[in-house]
C-alpha cells in the first residue's frame, strides 16, 4: 500500500494519474457540478453560465479550488445542439430553470427531417467562443478536459420535440436512424474542428444520455435504433485520435446492461463509464471495471436534501463499492449535482474521500 502522508496530490495530478493507471493518494471526486458553480459565485440564475464559456471556465476553476474536488474542466457549445440546426433555445435566465431548453424544434415533420442538413460547427459562433476558452485551458495546462458531444436520442431531442421522437421510434424508425446518423456526422465534424485547433490529446469526448435510458425506451429499441449510431460515433471519434470516451449513461440503464448492449460500445483505452443512480455501482465495477475507469453515482436529490452526516454516509458507501475497481475509480454523483445543494453537503463528498478513500 502506498502512503502519501505529506505530499497531497493536486486535483490535476490525481486526474492524470487515474487516466494513466498510476497510483493516487486518495479516491478522486467528480461531483458533476456546473450550475452549482454559478450559484457559488452569487449569480441569481444559470443563464450566463450556460451562454458564456468564459464564465463556465472561470467558475469551474474557482469552485474546484474552494472545494478541493478533482473534476477537470467541462466545455460545451452554448448552442447546445439546438440552434446549430436551426431550432430556438432558451437560456436559463429564469432562476427556476436548470439548463438550456429547446423551445422550438428545427424538425417538426418527417419532411423537415429528410431535409435537415448537418451543420458546420465552424459557422457556430458559440463553438468558436467555447474553443477560445478551451485553448486558454490548454495554455494553462488544464488537460485533459471534456467536451460535450454525442450521436444519441438525447442529441435528437434537441432537434425534434421529445414526444415526437418517442412516437417516430414506432411510426418511422428509419427516419429516426437517419436523424441519428446526422447527429453522428455533426459530432464527427466538431471532433475534426477541435483536433485541428488543439490536437486530439488535450480533450476527451463526453456524452450524457437520459433519453436513451430504460426509463424511456426498451433495451430492444436501444439495440435496434440507438446502438448502431452509438457504436458509430464512438468508433469514428476514436479513429480520429481522441483517446477515449467519457460516457454518462444517464438514469436507468439496467436493461441495456443486462442485455450486454453497453459492452458493445467502443470506449477507448481505458473508457470512463458513469451510470445514473438507478444502477448499482457494484454491477458497474464487476461488468466494466476491468477495461474502464468507473465513476460512482450517489443519488443527486439525496445530496441536496439530506443532512450533512447522511451525505458523508452516502459518499462512504460509494467509496466502499468502487475504491478497488481494477482500472480505477472516481467517486461521483449520479447526474448533475443539484445546483442549490448546500455548500456543506458538497464539501461532504471531498471530506469523505479524504477520510475513507485513502489508498
Amino acid at each position: 500500500m502506498i502512503h502519501f502522508q505529506s505530499a497531497e496530490m493536486t486535483p490535476l495530478q490525481r486526474w492524470r494519474a487515474i487516466l494513466s493507471g498510476d497510483p493516487v493518494d486518495r479516491v478522486p471526486v467528480f461531483p458533476f457540478a456546473f450550475g452549482h458553480n454559478a450559484i457559488l459565485f452569487g449569480y441569481p440564475n444559470l443563464g450566463d453560465l450556460y451562454s458564456k464559456p468564459e464564465l463556465a471556465y472561470k467558475t469551474q476553476i474557482v469552485a474546484r479550488e474552494i472545494y478541493g474536488w478533482d473534476q477537470p474542466l467541462f466545455f460545451w457549445s452554448p448552442s447546445w445542439g439546438i440552434t446549430e440546426y436551426g431550432g430556438k433555445s432558451l437560456f436559463p435566465y429564469n432562476p427556476k430553470m436548470m439548463s438550456v431548453t429547446m423551445v422550438e424544434p428545427a424538425v417538426k415533420t418527417p419532411e423537415d427531417a429528410e431535409r435537415l442538413e448537418v451543420p458546420d460547427p465552424k459557422k457556430d459562433p458559440n463553438m468558436i467562443e467555447a474553443m477560445k476558452w478551451m485553448k486558454k485551458a490548454v495554455e494553462n495546462k488544464e488537460m485533459p478536459m471534456f467536451f460535450l458531444s454525442g450521436g444519441w436520442l438525447t442529441n435528437l431531442d434537441k432537434i425534434v420535440e421529445i414526444q415526437t421522437v418517442m412516437r417516430w421510434i414506432k411510426y418511422h424508425p428509419d427516419l429516426i436512424k437517419k436523424l441519428l446518423a446526422k447527429t453522428v456526422e455533426f459530432a464527427v465534424r466538431q471532433t475534426e474542428l477541435l483536433i485541428s485547433e488543439m490536437g486530439a490529446d488535450t480533450w476527451i469526448a463526453m456524452e450524457a444520455t437520459p433519453t436513451d435510458s430504460n426509463t424511456l425506451i426498451s433495451p430492444q429499441t436501444f439495440e435496434q435504433i440507438v446502438l448502431p449510431s452509438a457504436i458509430a460515433v464512438h468508433q469514428k471519434v476514436l479513429d480520429l485520435g481522441v483517446p477515449m470516451w467519457f460516457s454518462h449513461f444517464c438514469s436507468n440503464q439496467n436493461g441495456n446492461i443486462k442485455a450486454g448492449l453497453i459492452d458493445r460500445i467502443p470506449m477507448g483505452r481505458p473508457g470512463i463509464i458513469h451510470f445514473g443512480p438507478e444502477v448499482d455501482l457494484k454491477v458497474t465495477v464487476e461488468r466494466f471495471g476491468k477495461k474502464n475507469i468507473v465513476i460512482g453515482n450517489i443519488d443527486p436529490p439525496s445530496i441536496m436534501l439530506q443532512p450533512y452526516e447522511e451525505v458523508i454516509k452516502l459518499a462512504k458507501a460509494d467509496i466502499e463499492k468502487g475504491m478497488y475497481s481494477p482500472r480505477g475509480y472516481i467517486m461521483g454523483v449520479g447526474c448533475e449535482l443539484p445546483p442549490r445543494t448546500p455548500t456543506a453537503n458538497v464539501y461532504a463528498l471531498v471530506k469523505a474521500a479524504r477520510e475513507f478513500g485513502r489508498y
Binding site: K96, L216, P301
Partner: protein, 219 residues
C-alpha cells in the same frame, strides 16, 4: 362479435397501439349497438391501464404508451359523437401542469392520457408553468383537481408556492391539489399540505377518483 369480444379486442388494439384496428373496432362497436361510453371505458381505457401497469413493471416503455394513446384517440373520435349527452359530460375537470422551470413533461403527459381515458376533462397547462398561471386557472376555469408535477429538486419547491398562492387568493378550499413526479414523496406531499400524492399514472387516476368521490362529485 359479442359485446364482450369487441371490448376485449378494443383493449388489445389499444395495448398494441394499432390505430387501424382501433378505428375498425370502434365502428364495429357502433354497428353492434355497444354503448359508446362502455366501449370507451371498458374497451379503450382499460387498454391504457394495462399498458401503464406494464410500464411500471418494465414491460412497456414510453413509445408504447404514446402510440397506444394515439390508437385510443382514434377510437374515441369515432365513438364520442354517438355518446348520449348526459354520459358525454365528464366525471370532473382536472388541471395539470409542471412546476416553473421544469421541462420534464413526459410523466405529466402520461398522467393526462390516463385521466383522459378514465373520462376526466383535462386542462393541460404544459411544462414550466408559473405559479400565477396555476392560480389564475383555478380561479377562472374552476377545475375540481389541480395536479402538479416536478422532476427536479430545483423545481419541486414550486409546489408549496402554488399552495400558498392559492391560500392567499382564497382559492385553496375550492380545489384538491395533487402532486407527483420523481423527487416527490407522500411525505413531501403531506408536509406541503397537498391533498394527495400519486407514484404513477394509475395511482393518479385512483387518487382523483377517491378525492372527487369524497366530495360527492363523481361515481
Amino acid at each position: 362479435m359479442s359485446q364482450k369480444e369487441i371490448l376485449e379486442k378494443l383493449t388489445n388494439a389499444v395495448v398494441a397501439g394499432d390505430r387501424d384496428a382501433c378505428a375498425g373496432l370502434a365502428n364495429e362497436a357502433l354497428k353492434a349497438g355497444v354503448d359508446p361510453y362502455v366501449a370507451i371505458m371498458e374497451g379503450c381505457s382499460k387498454g391504457m391501464e394495462v399498458l401503464s401497469k406494464r410500464y411500471d413493471t418494465g414491460e412497456a416503455f414510453v413509445p408504447d404508451i404514446l402510440v397506444a394513446a394515439d390508437a385510443m384517440n382514434e377510437a374515441i373520435a369515432i365513438l364520442k359523437p354517438h355518446m348520449k349527452v348526459e354520459k358525454a359530460t365528464t366525471k370532473g375537470k382536472v388541471a395539470l401542469g409542471v412546476c416553473e422551470g421544469d421541462i420534464h413533461d413526459i410523466g405529466k403527459n402520461i398522467v393526462k392520457i390516463l385521466l383522459d381515458a378514465a373520462g376526466y376533462e383535462i386542462i393541460d397547462l404544459g411544462p414550466s408553468v408559473p405559479v400565477k398561471t396555476f392560480v389564475d386557472t383555478v380561479r377562472e376555469k374552476k377545475p375540481e383537481v389541480l395536479g402538479i408535477s416536478a422532476l427536479m429538486t430545483f423545481t419541486m419547491f414550486g409546489m408549496p408556492e402554488v399552495i400558498d398562492a392559492l391560500k392567499d387568493a382564497q382559492l385553496r378550499d375550492s380545489v384538491k391539489v395533487i402532486v407527483g413526479g420523481g423527487p416527490i414523496s407522500a411525505m413531501f406531499a403531506e408536509k406541503i399540505g397537498a391533498d394527495g400524492y400519486g407514484n404513477n399514472g394509475p395511482e393518479a387516476v385512483r387518487l382523483v377518483g377517491r378525492l372527487l368521490g369524497e366530495k360527492g362529485g363523481a361515481q
